[in-house]
Amino acid sequence: MISTINSEWIKLRTVRMNLVLFIIAVAFPVIVSVLVASLGKIEDLRASDVVGVVTGSSVVTALLLGVVGAVSISAEFAYGTIRPTFAATPRRTRVLLAKAVVIAVFAAVAEALVVVFCFLVSSGIASSRGATVSLDGEPEARAALIGIVIFAVIVSLLGFGIGMIIRNTPAAVAVLILWPLVVENIIFLILNAAGVDHPQKFLPYISGFGLGDPNKATSDSLSRVNGGLYFAGVTLTVALIGALITSRRDA
Protein backbone atom coordinates (compact mmCIF):
# COMPACT_ATOMS: atom_id res chain seq x y z
CA MET A 1 0.00 0.00 0.00
CA ILE A 2 2.87 2.39 0.84
CA SER A 3 4.42 1.78 -2.59
CA THR A 4 1.11 2.52 -4.31
CA ILE A 5 0.71 5.74 -2.31
CA ASN A 6 4.27 6.71 -3.21
CA SER A 7 3.58 6.05 -6.88
CA GLU A 8 0.40 8.15 -6.81
CA TRP A 9 2.20 10.97 -5.01
CA ILE A 10 4.86 11.01 -7.75
CA LYS A 11 2.07 11.22 -10.34
CA LEU A 12 0.38 14.13 -8.56
CA ARG A 13 3.47 16.27 -8.24
CA THR A 14 5.00 15.60 -11.65
CA VAL A 15 2.23 17.21 -13.68
CA ARG A 16 2.67 20.92 -14.21
CA MET A 17 -1.08 21.62 -14.26
CA ASN A 18 -1.37 20.56 -10.62
CA LEU A 19 1.32 23.04 -9.73
CA VAL A 20 -0.51 25.81 -11.61
CA LEU A 21 -3.79 24.93 -9.89
CA PHE A 22 -2.02 24.90 -6.53
CA ILE A 23 -0.55 28.37 -7.11
CA ILE A 24 -3.92 29.84 -8.14
CA ALA A 25 -5.57 28.06 -5.21
CA VAL A 26 -3.11 29.63 -2.79
CA ALA A 27 -2.87 33.05 -4.42
CA PHE A 28 -6.58 33.87 -4.62
CA PRO A 29 -7.48 33.81 -0.90
CA VAL A 30 -4.18 35.50 -0.01
CA ILE A 31 -4.94 38.41 -2.35
CA VAL A 32 -8.55 38.73 -1.13
CA SER A 33 -7.56 38.53 2.54
CA VAL A 34 -4.82 41.13 2.14
CA LEU A 35 -7.13 43.49 0.25
CA VAL A 36 -9.94 43.22 2.81
CA ALA A 37 -7.56 43.62 5.76
CA SER A 38 -5.92 46.64 4.13
CA LEU A 39 -8.99 48.40 2.79
CA GLY A 40 -11.87 47.31 5.05
CA LYS A 41 -13.32 49.48 7.81
CA ILE A 42 -11.55 49.00 11.13
CA GLU A 43 -14.81 48.25 12.95
CA ASP A 44 -15.48 45.41 10.45
CA LEU A 45 -12.22 43.69 11.30
CA ARG A 46 -13.12 41.66 14.37
CA ALA A 47 -11.79 38.10 14.62
CA SER A 48 -14.97 36.57 13.25
CA ASP A 49 -14.94 38.99 10.29
CA VAL A 50 -11.33 38.17 9.42
CA VAL A 51 -12.01 34.45 9.75
CA GLY A 52 -15.10 34.88 7.55
CA VAL A 53 -13.02 36.46 4.81
CA VAL A 54 -10.31 33.81 5.11
CA THR A 55 -12.70 30.85 5.02
CA GLY A 56 -15.00 32.47 2.44
CA SER A 57 -12.19 33.20 0.00
CA SER A 58 -10.47 29.86 0.54
CA VAL A 59 -13.62 28.11 -0.68
CA VAL A 60 -12.01 28.79 -4.06
CA THR A 61 -8.97 26.86 -2.84
CA ALA A 62 -11.20 23.98 -1.84
CA LEU A 63 -12.90 23.92 -5.25
CA LEU A 64 -9.56 23.99 -7.07
CA LEU A 65 -8.34 21.16 -4.85
CA GLY A 66 -11.53 19.38 -5.92
CA VAL A 67 -10.44 19.94 -9.53
CA VAL A 68 -7.07 18.36 -8.69
CA GLY A 69 -8.98 15.39 -7.27
CA ALA A 70 -11.19 15.06 -10.35
CA VAL A 71 -8.33 15.41 -12.83
CA SER A 72 -6.15 12.93 -10.92
CA ILE A 73 -8.42 10.16 -12.16
CA SER A 74 -10.07 11.60 -15.31
CA ALA A 75 -6.66 12.38 -16.86
CA GLU A 76 -5.67 8.74 -16.34
CA PHE A 77 -8.60 7.71 -18.49
CA ALA A 78 -7.97 10.48 -21.03
CA TYR A 79 -4.31 9.56 -21.58
CA GLY A 80 -4.75 5.82 -21.06
CA THR A 81 -2.31 5.77 -18.14
CA ILE A 82 -4.96 3.95 -16.12
CA ARG A 83 -3.97 0.80 -18.02
CA PRO A 84 -0.28 0.71 -17.06
CA THR A 85 -1.43 1.76 -13.58
CA PHE A 86 -3.76 -1.22 -13.19
CA ALA A 87 -1.25 -3.49 -14.94
CA ALA A 88 1.38 -2.50 -12.37
CA THR A 89 -1.09 -2.80 -9.48
CA PRO A 90 -3.88 -5.21 -10.44
CA ARG A 91 -5.76 -4.62 -7.17
CA ARG A 92 -7.78 -1.65 -8.32
CA THR A 93 -9.23 -0.82 -4.91
CA ARG A 94 -5.68 -0.41 -3.65
CA VAL A 95 -4.93 2.09 -6.44
CA LEU A 96 -8.12 4.06 -5.78
CA LEU A 97 -7.54 4.08 -2.04
CA ALA A 98 -3.96 5.28 -2.54
CA LYS A 99 -5.21 8.06 -4.82
CA ALA A 100 -7.82 9.09 -2.23
CA VAL A 101 -5.17 9.21 0.52
CA VAL A 102 -2.79 11.30 -1.61
CA ILE A 103 -5.53 13.72 -2.68
CA ALA A 104 -6.93 14.09 0.85
CA VAL A 105 -3.54 14.71 2.44
CA PHE A 106 -2.54 17.12 -0.33
CA ALA A 107 -5.83 19.02 0.12
CA ALA A 108 -5.49 19.11 3.92
CA VAL A 109 -1.94 20.43 3.81
CA ALA A 110 -2.63 22.96 1.04
CA GLU A 111 -5.79 24.32 2.67
CA ALA A 112 -4.21 24.45 6.14
CA LEU A 113 -1.26 26.41 4.73
CA VAL A 114 -3.62 28.83 3.02
CA VAL A 115 -5.80 29.33 6.08
CA VAL A 116 -2.92 29.82 8.51
CA PHE A 117 -1.03 32.12 6.16
CA CYS A 118 -4.09 34.21 5.26
CA PHE A 119 -5.20 34.54 8.86
CA LEU A 120 -1.75 35.56 10.10
CA VAL A 121 -1.24 38.06 7.27
CA SER A 122 -4.67 39.64 7.45
CA SER A 123 -4.74 39.81 11.27
CA GLY A 124 -1.25 41.32 11.13
CA ILE A 125 -2.38 43.98 8.68
CA ALA A 126 -5.59 44.65 10.65
CA SER A 127 -3.63 44.96 13.93
CA SER A 128 -1.21 47.41 12.36
CA ARG A 129 -4.25 49.49 11.43
CA GLY A 130 -5.42 49.50 15.02
CA ALA A 131 -7.95 46.66 15.06
CA THR A 132 -7.62 43.87 17.59
CA VAL A 133 -7.92 40.44 16.06
CA SER A 134 -7.74 37.60 18.52
CA LEU A 135 -9.14 34.10 18.53
CA ASP A 136 -9.30 34.07 22.35
CA GLY A 137 -12.90 33.62 23.40
CA GLU A 138 -13.99 33.03 19.79
CA PRO A 139 -14.64 29.27 19.70
CA GLU A 140 -16.85 29.52 16.60
CA ALA A 141 -14.18 31.40 14.63
CA ARG A 142 -11.53 28.92 15.70
CA ALA A 143 -13.75 25.98 14.76
CA ALA A 144 -14.41 27.60 11.37
CA LEU A 145 -10.69 27.77 10.58
CA ILE A 146 -10.33 24.05 11.27
CA GLY A 147 -13.66 23.31 9.60
CA ILE A 148 -12.71 24.89 6.28
CA VAL A 149 -9.69 22.54 6.09
CA ILE A 150 -11.98 19.54 6.59
CA PHE A 151 -14.35 21.04 4.02
CA ALA A 152 -11.49 21.25 1.47
CA VAL A 153 -10.60 17.61 2.08
CA ILE A 154 -14.21 16.58 1.48
CA VAL A 155 -14.47 18.69 -1.71
CA SER A 156 -11.23 17.18 -3.07
CA LEU A 157 -12.64 13.70 -2.52
CA LEU A 158 -15.98 14.75 -4.05
CA GLY A 159 -14.01 15.79 -7.15
CA PHE A 160 -12.23 12.43 -7.14
CA GLY A 161 -15.56 10.60 -6.86
CA ILE A 162 -17.12 12.61 -9.70
CA GLY A 163 -13.99 11.97 -11.81
CA MET A 164 -14.28 8.22 -11.29
CA ILE A 165 -17.91 8.25 -12.41
CA ILE A 166 -17.69 10.68 -15.34
CA ARG A 167 -14.12 9.88 -16.54
CA ASN A 168 -14.07 12.93 -18.83
CA THR A 169 -12.01 15.85 -17.52
CA PRO A 170 -14.06 18.86 -18.73
CA ALA A 171 -17.35 17.22 -17.78
CA ALA A 172 -16.12 16.13 -14.35
CA VAL A 173 -14.70 19.57 -13.58
CA ALA A 174 -17.89 21.24 -14.80
CA VAL A 175 -20.08 19.07 -12.57
CA LEU A 176 -17.85 19.80 -9.57
CA ILE A 177 -17.70 23.57 -10.12
CA LEU A 178 -21.39 23.82 -10.97
CA TRP A 179 -22.40 21.58 -8.10
CA PRO A 180 -23.00 24.46 -5.65
CA LEU A 181 -24.94 26.41 -8.29
CA VAL A 182 -26.85 23.75 -10.18
CA VAL A 183 -26.92 20.43 -8.37
CA GLU A 184 -27.81 22.02 -5.04
CA ASN A 185 -30.69 23.95 -6.63
CA ILE A 186 -32.04 20.80 -8.21
CA ILE A 187 -31.89 19.01 -4.84
CA PHE A 188 -33.61 22.02 -3.27
CA LEU A 189 -36.45 21.91 -5.80
CA ILE A 190 -36.91 18.17 -5.33
CA LEU A 191 -36.94 18.44 -1.53
CA ASN A 192 -39.30 21.41 -1.68
CA ALA A 193 -41.68 19.59 -4.00
CA ALA A 194 -41.57 16.61 -1.66
CA GLY A 195 -42.78 18.88 1.15
CA VAL A 196 -39.64 18.70 3.31
CA ASP A 197 -39.42 21.41 6.00
CA HIS A 198 -36.37 23.69 5.70
CA PRO A 199 -35.10 22.03 2.50
CA GLN A 200 -31.99 24.25 2.55
CA LYS A 201 -30.89 22.23 5.60
CA PHE A 202 -30.38 19.22 3.37
CA LEU A 203 -28.24 20.72 0.65
CA PRO A 204 -24.97 18.80 0.98
CA TYR A 205 -22.52 21.43 -0.24
CA ILE A 206 -24.17 24.31 1.66
CA SER A 207 -24.34 22.14 4.79
CA GLY A 208 -20.70 21.23 4.33
CA PHE A 209 -19.72 24.85 3.95
CA GLY A 210 -21.16 25.39 7.42
CA LEU A 211 -17.90 23.79 8.56
CA GLY A 212 -16.13 27.03 7.67
CA ASP A 213 -18.82 29.49 8.75
CA PRO A 214 -17.62 31.58 11.70
CA ASN A 215 -21.21 32.22 12.78
CA LYS A 216 -23.29 29.77 14.78
CA ALA A 217 -25.81 27.71 12.84
CA THR A 218 -29.39 29.01 12.69
CA SER A 219 -32.60 27.00 12.69
CA ASP A 220 -32.42 27.01 8.88
CA SER A 221 -29.20 25.04 8.77
CA LEU A 222 -27.59 21.96 10.25
CA SER A 223 -25.00 22.43 12.99
CA ARG A 224 -21.34 22.63 12.02
CA VAL A 225 -20.64 18.99 12.91
CA ASN A 226 -23.90 17.58 11.50
CA GLY A 227 -23.57 19.57 8.28
CA GLY A 228 -20.01 18.36 7.83
CA LEU A 229 -20.99 14.76 8.48
CA TYR A 230 -23.87 15.05 6.02
CA PHE A 231 -21.66 16.47 3.25
CA ALA A 232 -19.01 13.83 4.02
CA GLY A 233 -21.66 11.12 3.78
CA VAL A 234 -22.86 12.35 0.38
CA THR A 235 -19.24 12.53 -0.82
CA LEU A 236 -18.50 9.04 0.47
CA THR A 237 -21.53 7.73 -1.42
CA VAL A 238 -20.38 9.41 -4.67
CA ALA A 239 -16.84 8.08 -4.17
CA LEU A 240 -18.01 4.54 -3.42
CA ILE A 241 -20.20 4.51 -6.54
CA GLY A 242 -17.20 5.74 -8.54
CA ALA A 243 -14.90 3.12 -7.02
CA LEU A 244 -17.40 0.37 -7.73
CA ILE A 245 -17.74 1.46 -11.38
CA THR A 246 -13.97 1.79 -11.83
CA SER A 247 -13.16 -1.60 -10.37
CA ARG A 248 -15.90 -3.39 -12.31
CA ARG A 249 -15.66 -1.78 -15.74
CA ASP A 250 -13.02 -2.56 -18.38
CA ALA A 251 -10.10 -0.21 -17.91
Partner: protein, 305 residues
Protein backbone atom coordinates in the same frame (compact mmCIF):
# COMPACT_ATOMS: atom_id res chain seq x y z
CA UNK B 1 5.45 -19.46 -20.35
CA UNK B 2 2.08 -17.93 -21.11
CA UNK B 3 -1.10 -19.98 -21.50
CA UNK B 4 -4.26 -18.51 -22.91
CA UNK B 5 -7.19 -20.86 -22.39
CA UNK B 6 -10.66 -20.55 -23.92
CA UNK B 7 -10.55 -16.76 -23.85
CA UNK B 8 -13.69 -14.94 -25.06
CA UNK B 9 -14.62 -11.30 -24.93
CA UNK B 10 -17.79 -9.67 -26.23
CA UNK B 11 -18.51 -5.97 -26.54
CA UNK B 12 -22.28 -5.74 -26.77
CA UNK B 13 -23.19 -7.91 -29.74
CA UNK B 14 -19.69 -7.97 -31.21
CA UNK B 15 -17.54 -10.95 -30.33
CA UNK B 16 -13.99 -9.61 -30.28
CA UNK B 17 -12.30 -12.79 -29.06
CA UNK B 18 -13.90 -16.17 -29.55
CA UNK B 19 -12.76 -19.12 -27.38
CA UNK B 20 -9.10 -18.47 -28.11
CA UNK B 21 -6.43 -20.82 -26.73
CA UNK B 22 -2.69 -20.82 -27.32
CA UNK B 23 0.61 -21.21 -25.48
CA UNK B 24 3.68 -19.00 -25.68
CA UNK B 25 6.98 -20.73 -25.00
CA UNK B 26 10.09 -19.28 -23.36
CA UNK B 27 13.32 -18.79 -25.27
CA UNK B 28 11.75 -17.70 -28.55
CA UNK B 29 9.91 -14.68 -29.92
CA UNK B 30 6.29 -15.52 -30.60
CA UNK B 31 4.47 -13.30 -33.06
CA UNK B 32 0.79 -12.63 -32.45
CA UNK B 33 -0.51 -11.98 -35.91
CA UNK B 34 -3.88 -10.93 -37.23
CA UNK B 35 -5.44 -8.24 -39.40
CA UNK B 36 -6.55 -4.99 -37.81
CA UNK B 37 -9.60 -5.58 -35.66
CA UNK B 38 -8.97 -9.31 -35.30
CA UNK B 39 -8.87 -9.12 -31.50
CA UNK B 40 -5.13 -8.99 -30.75
CA UNK B 41 -5.26 -5.95 -28.48
CA UNK B 42 -8.41 -7.14 -26.75
CA UNK B 43 -6.73 -10.49 -26.10
CA UNK B 44 -3.74 -8.74 -24.57
CA UNK B 45 -5.92 -6.49 -22.41
CA UNK B 46 -7.82 -9.55 -21.18
CA UNK B 47 -4.54 -11.36 -20.47
CA UNK B 48 -3.54 -8.49 -18.16
CA UNK B 49 -7.05 -8.43 -16.66
CA UNK B 50 -7.63 -4.86 -17.76
CA UNK B 51 -10.71 -6.03 -19.63
CA UNK B 52 -12.80 -8.73 -18.04
CA UNK B 53 -13.12 -11.78 -20.30
CA UNK B 54 -16.50 -13.47 -20.69
CA UNK B 55 -14.91 -16.92 -20.65
CA UNK B 56 -11.46 -18.30 -19.95
CA UNK B 57 -8.32 -16.34 -19.22
CA UNK B 58 -4.56 -16.34 -19.25
CA UNK B 59 -1.89 -17.58 -16.90
CA UNK B 60 1.74 -16.55 -16.58
CA UNK B 61 3.94 -19.38 -15.34
CA UNK B 62 0.77 -21.02 -14.01
CA UNK B 63 -0.66 -17.99 -12.23
CA UNK B 64 -3.38 -15.56 -13.23
CA UNK B 65 -2.25 -11.96 -13.63
CA UNK B 66 -3.85 -10.72 -10.38
CA UNK B 67 -2.02 -13.47 -8.48
CA UNK B 68 1.38 -12.02 -9.38
CA UNK B 69 2.65 -10.35 -6.23
CA UNK B 70 4.80 -7.83 -8.07
CA UNK B 71 3.64 -7.80 -11.70
CA UNK B 72 6.38 -5.62 -13.17
CA UNK B 73 9.00 -8.13 -11.96
CA UNK B 74 7.24 -10.94 -13.76
CA UNK B 75 5.41 -9.54 -16.78
CA UNK B 76 6.57 -6.51 -18.71
CA UNK B 77 3.75 -5.25 -20.90
CA UNK B 78 3.52 -2.47 -23.45
CA UNK B 79 -0.01 -2.10 -24.73
CA UNK B 80 0.35 1.31 -26.33
CA UNK B 81 3.29 3.68 -26.24
CA UNK B 82 0.72 6.50 -26.14
CA UNK B 83 -0.35 5.57 -22.60
CA UNK B 84 1.70 8.37 -21.04
CA UNK B 85 0.79 11.76 -19.62
CA UNK B 86 2.11 14.29 -22.17
CA UNK B 87 2.92 16.80 -19.44
CA UNK B 88 5.11 14.43 -17.47
CA UNK B 89 8.78 13.83 -18.27
CA UNK B 90 9.88 10.42 -19.48
CA UNK B 91 11.93 9.91 -16.34
CA UNK B 92 9.01 10.80 -14.07
CA UNK B 93 6.75 8.45 -16.02
CA UNK B 94 9.15 5.61 -15.26
CA UNK B 95 9.52 6.76 -11.66
CA UNK B 96 5.87 6.32 -10.77
CA UNK B 97 5.85 2.96 -12.52
CA UNK B 98 8.95 1.88 -10.60
CA UNK B 99 7.61 3.14 -7.27
CA UNK B 100 4.39 1.15 -7.63
CA UNK B 101 6.38 -2.10 -7.60
CA UNK B 102 9.11 -0.99 -5.16
CA UNK B 103 11.80 -0.89 -7.85
CA UNK B 104 14.81 1.22 -6.93
CA UNK B 105 15.04 4.69 -8.43
CA UNK B 106 18.43 3.86 -9.92
CA UNK B 107 16.71 1.29 -12.12
CA UNK B 108 14.88 4.13 -13.92
CA UNK B 109 18.17 5.64 -15.07
CA UNK B 110 19.43 2.20 -16.04
CA UNK B 111 16.55 1.49 -18.40
CA UNK B 112 16.66 5.04 -19.80
CA UNK B 113 20.29 4.36 -20.66
CA UNK B 114 19.36 0.95 -22.09
CA UNK B 115 16.88 2.44 -24.57
CA UNK B 116 19.04 5.47 -25.31
CA UNK B 117 16.79 8.16 -23.80
CA UNK B 118 19.09 9.39 -21.03
CA UNK B 119 19.66 12.77 -22.64
CA UNK B 120 15.91 13.47 -23.09
CA UNK B 121 14.69 11.82 -19.86
CA UNK B 122 13.85 15.18 -18.28
CA UNK B 123 11.91 16.44 -21.27
CA UNK B 124 8.13 16.27 -21.24
CA UNK B 125 6.73 13.36 -23.22
CA UNK B 126 4.72 15.67 -25.49
CA UNK B 127 8.01 16.72 -27.09
CA UNK B 128 8.93 13.10 -27.92
CA UNK B 129 8.77 11.63 -31.40
CA UNK B 130 6.82 8.42 -31.96
CA UNK B 131 10.05 6.43 -31.96
CA UNK B 132 11.11 7.99 -28.65
CA UNK B 133 7.73 7.10 -27.15
CA UNK B 134 8.14 3.49 -28.26
CA UNK B 135 11.57 3.47 -26.63
CA UNK B 136 10.09 4.92 -23.44
CA UNK B 137 7.41 2.22 -23.54
CA UNK B 138 10.07 -0.44 -23.89
CA UNK B 139 11.99 1.11 -20.99
CA UNK B 140 8.84 0.61 -18.90
CA UNK B 141 8.70 -3.03 -19.98
CA UNK B 142 12.32 -3.64 -18.99
CA UNK B 143 11.98 -1.81 -15.66
CA UNK B 144 11.28 -4.89 -13.55
CA UNK B 145 13.60 -7.20 -15.57
CA UNK B 146 10.65 -9.52 -16.22
CA UNK B 147 10.81 -13.11 -17.47
CA UNK B 148 7.74 -12.53 -19.64
CA UNK B 149 7.36 -9.71 -22.15
CA UNK B 150 4.10 -8.77 -23.91
CA UNK B 151 4.13 -6.05 -26.56
CA UNK B 152 1.25 -4.79 -28.67
CA UNK B 153 2.37 -3.49 -32.08
CA UNK B 154 5.71 -2.13 -30.81
CA UNK B 155 6.94 -1.48 -34.36
CA UNK B 156 3.88 0.54 -35.35
CA UNK B 157 4.92 3.82 -36.90
CA UNK B 158 8.64 3.17 -36.58
CA UNK B 159 11.14 3.68 -39.37
CA UNK B 160 13.16 0.64 -40.60
CA UNK B 161 15.99 1.44 -38.22
CA UNK B 162 13.59 1.57 -35.27
CA UNK B 163 12.00 -1.71 -36.30
CA UNK B 164 15.42 -3.33 -36.48
CA UNK B 165 16.26 -1.99 -33.03
CA UNK B 166 13.04 -3.43 -31.55
CA UNK B 167 13.73 -6.72 -33.28
CA UNK B 168 17.26 -6.90 -31.89
CA UNK B 169 16.01 -6.17 -28.38
CA UNK B 170 13.30 -8.84 -28.59
CA UNK B 171 15.63 -11.47 -30.04
CA UNK B 172 18.13 -10.65 -27.30
CA UNK B 173 15.47 -10.97 -24.58
CA UNK B 174 14.34 -14.32 -25.98
CA UNK B 175 17.93 -15.58 -26.19
CA UNK B 176 18.16 -15.01 -22.43
CA UNK B 177 15.36 -17.54 -21.99
CA UNK B 178 12.51 -15.07 -21.60
CA UNK B 179 9.03 -15.55 -22.98
CA UNK B 180 8.29 -12.91 -25.61
CA UNK B 181 4.87 -12.30 -27.19
CA UNK B 182 4.68 -9.50 -29.73
CA UNK B 183 1.72 -8.56 -31.90
CA UNK B 184 1.59 -7.10 -35.37
CA UNK B 185 -0.77 -6.92 -38.30
CA UNK B 186 2.16 -7.22 -40.75
CA UNK B 187 3.57 -10.66 -41.48
CA UNK B 188 6.68 -9.16 -43.10
CA UNK B 189 7.43 -7.43 -39.78
CA UNK B 190 6.77 -10.65 -37.87
CA UNK B 191 8.97 -12.65 -40.21
CA UNK B 192 11.87 -10.42 -39.19
CA UNK B 193 11.22 -10.71 -35.44
CA UNK B 194 9.43 -13.93 -34.59
CA UNK B 195 10.24 -17.62 -34.58
CA UNK B 196 6.73 -18.83 -33.84
CA UNK B 197 3.39 -17.44 -34.92
CA UNK B 198 -0.02 -17.38 -33.35
CA UNK B 199 -2.32 -16.30 -36.16
CA UNK B 200 -5.85 -15.14 -35.39
CA UNK B 201 -8.72 -13.84 -37.49
CA UNK B 202 -12.04 -12.57 -36.15
CA UNK B 203 -10.99 -13.49 -32.64
CA UNK B 204 -10.40 -17.14 -33.48
CA UNK B 205 -7.17 -19.09 -33.72
CA UNK B 206 -6.29 -19.80 -37.33
CA UNK B 207 -2.94 -21.39 -36.82
CA UNK B 208 -0.06 -21.77 -34.41
CA UNK B 209 3.19 -22.79 -36.09
CA UNK B 210 6.63 -21.53 -37.00
CA UNK B 211 6.99 -18.65 -39.45
CA UNK B 212 8.58 -20.97 -42.04
CA UNK B 213 5.74 -23.48 -41.77
CA UNK B 214 3.17 -20.77 -42.11
CA UNK B 215 4.74 -19.37 -45.25
CA UNK B 216 5.22 -22.88 -46.64
CA UNK B 217 1.58 -23.71 -46.10
CA UNK B 218 0.00 -20.51 -47.35
CA UNK B 219 2.39 -18.97 -49.82
CA UNK B 220 1.39 -18.92 -53.45
CA UNK B 221 3.89 -20.82 -55.69
CA UNK B 222 4.17 -20.89 -59.47
CA UNK B 223 6.62 -21.46 -62.29
CA UNK B 224 7.70 -18.71 -64.59
CA UNK B 225 8.74 -19.73 -68.12
CA UNK B 226 10.07 -17.69 -70.99
CA UNK B 227 10.31 -19.30 -74.39
CA UNK B 228 10.00 -18.28 -78.08
CA UNK B 229 7.55 -21.19 -78.36
CA UNK B 230 5.70 -20.44 -75.12
CA UNK B 231 2.30 -21.27 -76.63
CA UNK B 232 3.33 -24.85 -77.34
CA UNK B 233 4.73 -25.22 -73.84
CA UNK B 234 1.58 -23.78 -72.25
CA UNK B 235 -0.49 -26.19 -74.31
CA UNK B 236 1.61 -29.15 -73.15
CA UNK B 237 1.47 -28.02 -69.52
CA UNK B 238 -2.28 -27.38 -69.42
CA UNK B 239 -2.95 -30.76 -70.96
CA UNK B 240 -1.20 -32.17 -67.85
CA UNK B 241 -3.55 -30.26 -65.58
CA UNK B 242 -1.54 -27.07 -64.94
CA UNK B 243 -3.11 -23.63 -64.96
CA UNK B 244 -1.48 -21.01 -67.09
CA UNK B 245 -1.60 -17.26 -67.45
CA UNK B 246 0.28 -15.23 -70.05
CA UNK B 247 2.49 -12.39 -68.88
CA UNK B 248 3.53 -11.29 -72.36
CA UNK B 249 4.00 -12.88 -75.79
CA UNK B 250 6.92 -15.05 -74.69
CA UNK B 251 6.37 -15.36 -70.94
CA UNK B 252 3.85 -17.42 -68.96
CA UNK B 253 3.14 -18.29 -65.34
CA UNK B 254 2.19 -21.90 -64.63
CA UNK B 255 0.49 -23.14 -61.48
CA UNK B 256 -0.01 -26.74 -60.36
CA UNK B 257 3.22 -27.94 -61.93
CA UNK B 258 6.87 -28.03 -60.78
CA UNK B 259 9.95 -26.60 -62.51
CA UNK B 260 11.23 -30.18 -62.98
CA UNK B 261 8.05 -31.19 -64.79
CA UNK B 262 8.12 -28.10 -67.01
CA UNK B 263 11.78 -28.71 -67.87
CA UNK B 264 11.14 -32.31 -68.83
CA UNK B 265 8.07 -31.28 -70.83
CA UNK B 266 10.16 -28.76 -72.78
CA UNK B 267 12.90 -31.32 -73.49
CA UNK B 268 10.41 -33.93 -74.65
CA UNK B 269 8.78 -31.44 -77.04
CA UNK B 270 12.07 -29.90 -78.19
CA UNK B 271 11.08 -26.43 -76.92
CA UNK B 272 13.82 -23.88 -76.29
CA UNK B 273 13.67 -22.28 -72.79
CA UNK B 274 14.97 -18.78 -72.07
CA UNK B 275 13.86 -18.81 -68.44
CA UNK B 276 12.52 -21.39 -66.01
CA UNK B 277 12.20 -20.23 -62.41
CA UNK B 278 10.18 -21.10 -59.30
CA UNK B 279 8.26 -18.14 -57.86
CA UNK B 280 6.88 -17.57 -54.34
CA UNK B 281 4.28 -14.99 -53.34
CA UNK B 282 5.15 -12.41 -50.71
CA UNK B 283 4.61 -13.02 -47.01
CA UNK B 284 1.84 -10.47 -47.05
CA UNK B 285 0.04 -12.49 -49.74
CA UNK B 286 0.36 -15.62 -47.63
CA UNK B 287 -1.02 -13.85 -44.61
CA UNK B 288 -3.90 -12.29 -46.54
CA UNK B 289 -4.72 -15.67 -48.01
CA UNK B 290 -4.78 -17.34 -44.60
CA UNK B 291 -6.88 -14.71 -42.89
CA UNK B 292 -9.08 -13.98 -45.89
CA UNK B 293 -10.33 -17.56 -45.78
CA UNK B 294 -11.40 -17.01 -42.17
CA UNK B 295 -13.13 -13.79 -43.07
CA UNK B 296 -14.68 -15.23 -46.17
CA UNK B 297 -16.01 -18.09 -44.10
CA UNK B 298 -17.50 -15.75 -41.56
CA UNK B 299 -18.95 -13.36 -44.10
CA UNK B 300 -20.41 -15.96 -46.47
CA UNK B 301 -24.07 -15.18 -46.95
CA UNK B 302 -26.58 -17.83 -46.07
CA UNK B 303 -28.12 -19.05 -49.33
CA UNK B 304 -31.17 -21.28 -49.21
CA UNK B 305 -30.81 -24.39 -51.41
Amino acid sequence: MISVVDLSKRFGRTTAVDHLSFDVMPGIVTGFLGPNGSGKSTTMRCMLELDRPDTGGASFGGRAYHQLSSPLHEVGALLDAGYVHPGRSGRNHLRWLAASNRLPRARVDEVLELVGLTSVGSRRVKTYSLGMRQRLGLAGVLLGDPQIVVLDEPANGLDPEGIRWIRDVLVHLASQGRTVLVSSHLLSEMAQMANDLVVIGQGRLIEQCSVAEFVERHADRWVRVKSPAVDALVHAATSQGAEASMVDATTAELRGITTVEVGELAARNGIVLHELSPQTGSLEDAFLQATASAQEFAARPVVSP
